[in-house]
C-alpha cells in the first residue's frame, strides 16, 4: 500500500497532466500489443473448438449412417466435416479484432491486475470532471503495473481443454467406422432390386441399340418405338426405381410393341412369309450355286467319292473292334496266339476290301497287316489308331456332305417352288435373273416361252405374297404378247414387292427381338434374379467371372432369399441318406421308397404320345438352334461336372448317371 501511495506524494493534478497522456499511451500501447496476441490465441482456440464441433458432427453422421440407410457420401462427408469446421472456428475466432476495453479486462483477469487497466481505460474515456484526480491516479497506477508486461511471455500459445475432447470424439468416430452398419432386410432387398433394374435397363438399352445399329427399320414409327425401348433402358439404368415402377414402365412399352406386332401380323402376306421363315431349312440365305461350291470344296477335300456316313460308321465300329482285339493281342504276347493273329490279319484284310469297295483308300490298314505279319504289335496299334482317326474325319465330312445335299434338295428349283417353299430371297434372285435375261437381246423364243411358263406357274403360289401374284400375272401376259420391257418391268415390281415384304418381316422380327428383350428384363426384375439368370446364364461371381463353382468365382456373399425355392415343401419327408453317419460307413446312402427313382425305359412308337412332364417357368418360343446331340452332350458334361464337384446328393448320383447312360443309348 505504501508503495502505491508513494505515487501520490508530491503530485498535483496540474503538474502531471502531461504525464497522464504518456501514461495513457503506455497503457494503450501495451493493450494493443496484447490485442494481436489475444486475437491469435482466440483464433487458435476457435480452431480447436471447430475441431471439436466437427468431430461431434462426424460422430453423429457416422452414427446415423450406421443406423439408417443413408447414402455412402455421408461417410465421406463425416470424414471431411472436421476440416471446414476447424477453418470456420479459426475464422470466427480471429476475424474480429478485440476492442481495447475487452483486452484490458481480459489482461486484468489474466495477470491479476485487479481491474486496474480496465478501470483506467474507462475512467480516461470519461469527460473531464471533478474526478480528474482519481483518473490521474488510476492511470498512473495502471501504467506502473502494465510496464514490463511482455505479452509473448505472458500469453504463451497452448492447447485448450477442447483439444482433448476433440481427440477423444475423433477416436470414437474412427472406432465407429469398424462397427458394421445395420441395414434392414427390406432395404437390402431394395438395393438388390435397384441393381437388377439398372443391370436390366443397361442390357436392354445396349441390346436394342445394337439391333438398331445393325439394321434400321424402314418405317420411322417402328424406329421410334425401338428408340423408345432403348430410352426406357437408359431410364431404368439411370434412375432409382422400385420394382413395381420398373415393371409398370416395361409393361407399358411392351404393350406398344405388341400393338405394332399385331398390326404387322394382320397383313396375310407377312404372315405367310413369317410362317415360311419359321419352316425354313437354314439354307435360305444361300443360293444353290453357293451350296454347290461348298459341296465341291468338301468333295475335293475328301478325294475320291466315298459311301454314305452309315457305311463309314459301320467300318469304324469294325475297326474299333479290331483295335480292341489288337490290344488284347499285345497283352498276351505269347506264341500260342498265332491263330488269333491269323484271324486278326484276315479281318483286317476283309476290312480293307470293304473300304476299297466303297471307294475308300486306307493305306494304314495295309501297313497294319504288314506290321502284324512282322509281329510288330506297337506299330500295328499305331497304324490302327491312325486308320481310326482318318475314318472318323471321313465320316464327319461325309455327314456334312450329306447335309449339304439335303439343303440343295430343299432349295426351290424354279420360281414357283421357291415361292411355295417360302424362299423369297431365292425367288428375288430368280426374278432378277429373269429381268436381266429379258433385257438381254439374245433371248430366244424358246427361252421366253420357258420363262413365261415358269412365271405363269408361279402366279398361284405367289398369291400369298401380296401384289407379287398380280405383277407376275401381268408379266406372263406381257411375255405372251412379246412385250419384253413391260414384262421386265412387271417382274421388277414383283421383285420390289418381295423386297418390301422382307423388309417388313425384318422389322417385325426386330420388334419381336426388342419385345423379347423387354420380357427378359421384366423377368429379371420381377424374379429378382438379375439379367443373366433370367437369360439362363450363370451370374457373375466375384471378379466378374461367371460360374458358381469352387474358388473365387463363387458368389460367397450371395444369400438364399427364399424366392427360388419358396414353393418347396419338404416337411414330412424322411431323408435317411442325410442322417449323420460315421466316416467309415458312408456308403451309397439309402433313400426312402418314396424318393427312389423309378426307371422307365422310354419306348418310342411312331405316332404315339411321348411321356412328358410339365415344368412351370418362362415359356420359350421359337426353334432351337442347337442339335439334339449337341444339347445332350452339353447337358451330360454339366452333369458330370456337378457330380464331380459333389453338387448332387449322393443318393441321386446313381440316378443321374443312369439317366445320361440311357440317353446315350
Amino acid at each position: 500500500m505504501s508503495k502505491d501511495l508513494t505515487l501520490v506524494k508530491g503530485r498535483r493534478v496540474g503538474q502531471f497532466n502531461e504525464r497522464v497522456m504518456s501514461e495513457l499511451q503506455v497503457v494503450q500501447s501495451a493493450l494493443e500489443t496484447a490485442a494481436g496476441r489475444c486475437r491469435w490465441n482466440r483464433a487458435l482456440r476457435g480452431l480447436w473448438y471447430g475441431l471439436l464441433a466437427g468431430a461431434l458432427l462426424s460422430l453423429l453422421a457416422l452414427g446415423a449412417y450406421h443406423l439408417f440407410p443413408l447414402p455412402l457420401w455421408n461417410v465421406i462427408a463425416a470424414a471431411l466435416v472436421p476440416f471446414p469446421c476447424m477453418l470456420l472456428g479459426l475464422l470466427i475466432g480471429g476475424l474480429r479484432k478485440p476492442k481495447l476495453q475487452q483486452v484490458a479486462r481480459w489482461l486484468d483477469g489474466r495477470q491479476r491486475l485487479q481491474e486496474r487497466l480496465s478501470t483506467a481505460l474507462e475512467v480516461s474515456s470519461q469527460p473531464d470532471n471533478n474526478s480528474n484526480t482519481w483518473r490521474d491516479l488510476v492511470l498512473a497506477d495502471a501504467a506502473q503495473h502494465v510496464r514490463g508486461i511482455n505479452p509473448r511471455q505472458l500469453l504463451p500459445f497452448g492447447l485448450p481443454k477442447a483439444t482433448r475432447w476433440a481427440l477423444l470424439v475423433l477416436a470414437l468416430a474412427a472406432g465407429l467406422g469398424f462397427v458394421p452398419e445395420y441395414r434392414s432386410k427390406s432395404f437390402r432387398q431394395k438395393k438388390i432390386d435397384e441393381t437388377n433394374i439398372k443391370e436390366a435397363g443397361r442390357q436392354l438399352a445396349e441390346l436394342t441399340r445394337h439391333n438398331l445399329e445393325k439394321r434400321t427399320p424402314i418405317v420411322e414409327q417402328r424406329k421410334e418405338s425401338l428408340e423408345a425401348v432403348a430410352a426406357l433402358g437408359d431410364q431404368l439404368a439411370a434412375k432409382s426405381m422400385t420394382r413395381s415402377e420398373a415393371l409398370k414402365d416395361l409393361a407399358n412399352q411392351a404393350e406398344k410393341l405388341k400393338e405394332e406386332i399385331s398390326e404387322l401380323a394382320r397383313d396375310p402376306a407377312l404372315r405367310r412369309l413369317e410362317q415360311a421363315a419359321r419352316s425354313a431349312t437354314g439354307a435360305e440365305g444361300q443360293t444353290a450355286s453357293a451350296l454347290q461350291k461348298q459341296m465341291e470344296a468338301l468333295q475335293k477335300q475328301m478325294g475320291t467319292p466315298i459311301g454314305n456316313p452309315d457305311a463309314l460308321e459301320k467300318l469304324k465300329s469294325q475297326l474299333d473292334k479290331l483295335q480292341q482285339a489288337a490290344k488284347g493281342l499285345a497283352d498276351k504276347n505269347s506264341p500260342g496266339n498265332d491263330a488269333e493273329r491269323q484271324k486278326l490279319s484276315d479281318s483286317l484284310s476283309a476290312l480293307s476290301r470293304q473300304a476299297q469297295d466303297i471307294g475308300l483308300q486306307m493305306p494304314q490298314l495295309d501297313d497294319a497287316i504288314n506290321a502284324l505279319a512282322a509281329n510288330q504289335t506297337d506299330l500295328l496299334l499305331k497304324d490302327l489308331q491312325a486308320a481310326t482317326t482318318d475314318l472318323e474325319k471321313l465320316r464327319e465330312m461325309s455327314k456334312n456332305m450329306q447335309q449339304l445335299q439335303q439343303q440343295v434338295e430343299k432349295l426351290g428349283k424354279d420360281l414357283a417352288e421357291q415361292l411355295k417353299n417360302g424362299q423369297p430371297e431365292l425367288a428375288q434372285q430368280t426374278l432378277q435373273k429373269m429381268i436381266s435375261q429379258l433385257k438381254a437381246a439374245n433371248l430366244t423364243p424358246e427361252q421366253l416361252q420357258k420363262m413365261m411358263d415358269e412365271v405363269a406357274k408361279a402366279v398361284s403360289p405367289a398369291a400369298n405374297y401380296g401384289k407379287v401374284a398380280e405383277h407376275l400375272k401381268a408379266a406372263a401376259g406381257q411375255m405372251k404378247s412379246g412385250d419384253k420391257p413391260g414384262a421386265a418391268q412387271s417382274l421388277a415390281k414383283a421383285s420390289d414387292e418381295l423386297q418390301n415384304l422382307m423388309q417388313q418381316l425384318a422389322d417385325a422380327q426386330q420388334i419381336q427381338a426388342a419385345l423379347d428383350a423387354m420380357n427378359q428384363a421384366s423377368s429379371a426384375i420381377g424374379t429378382g434374379q438379375g439379367w443373366r439368370m433370367a437369360r439362363g446364364m450363370p451370374r457373375a461371381g466375384k471378379g466378374g467371372k461367371p460360374g458358381s463353382g469352387v474358388g473365387t468365382w463363387a458368389d460367397e456373399d450371395g444369400q438364399w432369399d427364399g424366392t427360388t425355392t419358396a414353393g418347396w415343401d419338404n416337411s414330412g419327408v424322411v431323408r435317411p441318406d442325410e442322417d449323420p453317419r460315421g466316416v467309415t460307413d458312408r456308403g451309397e446312402g439309402e433313400v426312402s421308397d418314396a424318393l427312389k427313382p423309378t426307371k422307365v425305359k422310354g419306348q418310342f412308337s411312331p405316332g404315339g404320345p411321348m411321356p412328358s412332364i410339365t415344368l412351370k417357368g418362362v415359356s420359350i418360343k421359337g426353334q432351337s438352334t442347337l442339335g439334339f446331340e449337341q444339347a445332350a452332350t452339353a447337358a451330360q458334361s454339366d452333369a458330370e461336372s456337378a457330380l464331380s464337384q459333389e453338387k448332387v446328393p449322393r443318393a441321386y448320383q446313381g440316378s443321374v448317371r443312369d439317366y445320361f447312360d440311357d440317353l446315350k443309348k
Binding site: 498535483r12 490465441n41 482456440r45 481480459w106 485487479q114 480496465s118 482519481w134
Partner: protein, 333 residues
C-alpha cells in the same frame, strides 16, 4: 485537503486504527477489517459469535480509539424503546416552573454498542429501525436528528436461543455487514492469555476524530468503479433472487428470499473501502468477492429445505460466487 492528501490520511488512519485495536484485540484480523470497512463506509455492523470471543471488547475498543461519543446499550427483554431513544420527563426550571423536557436516550451518540441485541423484544428492536436507516429518531412526537457519524455495532449470541427474539428481516437488512466471530487460533489464544492475565492493561489512544472520519467517509465514495465491476455486483445480487431468470441454481433451490438492493450497495461500498485499504484506487472483483459473505449472509432468507439440510447462507454465497462469471463480456481466449 486534496484528494491525494486525503488518501494519504486514510492510509495512515487505517493503519493507526489497526495498530491501536491490535493492542487490545488479539488476531481476528478479518473481523477487525470488516468492522473498519463498515465504519468507513458508514454502515452498521452485526457481530455474531459465542460469548467470550471479544465482540464487545472490539466495539468498546473501537469507541476508545475514535474520538467519538460512545454508548453501550445492554439489550434485555425488559428494555423499552424509551430506554433507548429517550423520553419526556417533567423537569423543574430554575424559575420553579415545571415543564416537559426531552431526556435523550443512549441512541444519541456517535457509536452505539447494542450488546446482545436479540435479547430485546421486537418492539424495542424496532426502535432502532429509524435511527439506523434515517439517522434520526421520532420521540414524543418530535423528529430529532442524530449527529453524524452514527454507527450501530450490535452483537448477538447464536446459542442460548431461549428468551431471545430473532431480529426481523427489515432490521437485519439495515446492517451493513454481519460478521461472524470465530474462535481464536492457538497462538492467538496464548497471546490473549498473556495480555489479560498479566497485571498491565493495554491502553489505547484516540487516532481519529469525528471531522476527519467524516472526510474519509466521503473520500471512500469517490473511489472509481469500472462498469463491469458494478455489473458483477448487480449480477451477484440478482443471482440470489430465487426462481428468476438470473437466479443461480442453488439460490432457487435453497432460498426463500434473496438480497435487497442494499446488498448491492453494500458490496460496492465495501469494495471501495477495501480497495483503498489495499492501496488501490479502483475496485476489483476480488474486493467484491471478499466483502460478499459479510454483505449478503444476513440478507438471504433460507427456505425449509435449506434449514432441513443444514445449508447455510455462507455456503450459498460461496456457490454463487463460483457460479457467476466475473467478467462475462471480456474477450475469452
Amino acid at each position: 485537503m486534496s484528494t491525494e492528501e486525503q488518501i494519504q490520511t486514510f492510509s495512515q488512519s487505517y493503519t493507526a486504527l489497526r495498530e491501536e485495536i491490535g493492542r487490545v484485540i488479539v488476531g481476528q484480523d478479518a473481523i477487525v477489517e470488516g468492522t473498519l470497512i463498515s465504519l468507513f463506509a458508514g454502515g452498521h455492523v452485526l457481530l455474531e459469535g459465542v460469548p467470550g470471543l471479544g465482540k464487545t471488547l472490539l466495539v468498546r475498543t473501537l469507541g476508545q480509539v475514535l474520538d467519538l461519543s460512545f454508548s453501550r446499550i445492554q439489550f434485555t427483554p425488559d428494555l423499552m424503546p424509551a430506554d433507548i431513544l429517550g423520553t419526556n420527563l417533567v423537569m423543574e426550571s430554575p424559575s420553579g416552573r415545571r415543564e416537559f423536557e426531552f431526556q435523550r436516550g443512549p441512541i444519541f451518540a456517535h457509536l452505539i454498542l447494542a450488546d446482545e441485541i436479540n435479547r430485546a423484544t421486537p418492539k424495542t428492536q424496532s426502535a432502532l429501525l429509524e435511527a439506523m436507516q434515517e439517522h434520526q429518531v421520532t420521540a414524543a412526537g418530535e423528529l430529532r436528528r442524530l449527529e453524524e457519524p452514527f454507527f450501530v455495532m450490535a452483537t448477538q449470541n447464536p446459542i442460548d436461543q431461549e428468551g431471545t427474539y430473532p431480529l426481523p428481516e427489515a432490521q437485519l437488512d439495515r446492517f451493513f455487514f454481519k460478521i461472524l466471530v470465530g474462535y481464536p487460533s492457538a497462538d492467538e489464544l496464548t497471546e490473549v492469555l498473556n495480555r489479560t492475565t498479566a497485571g498491565v492493561q493495554a491502553q489505547v489512544q484516540k487516532v481519529l476524530n469525528r471531522e476527519l472520519l467524516l472526510q474519509l467517509m466521503n473520500l471512500v465514495r469517490e473511489v472509481p468503479v469500472a462498469s463491469h465491476v458494478k455489473d458483477y455486483a448487480v449480477r451477484l445480487v440478482l443471482a440470489t433472487h430465487p426462481r428468476t431468470e438470473t437466479a443461480a441454481p442453488i439460490a432457487s433451490q435453497y432460498l426463500r428470499f434473496g438480497s435487497s438492493p442494499r446488498g448491492a450497495q453494500t458490496l460496492l461500498l465495501g469494495g471501495k473501502v477495501r480497495a483503498l485499504t489495499h492501496g488501490r484506487f479502483n475496485v476489483s472483483f476480488d474486493d467484491l468477492q471478499a466483502v460478499a459473505p459479510a454483505a449478503l449472509r444476513h440478507r438471504l432468507i433460507l427456505n425449509f429445505e435449506a434449514e432441513a439440510e443444514g445449508i447455510t447462507t455462507d455456503q450459498i454465497i460461496g456457490q454463487i460466487l463460483t457460479d457467476v462469471p466475473r467478467d462475462a463480456q471480456a474477450v475469452s481466449v
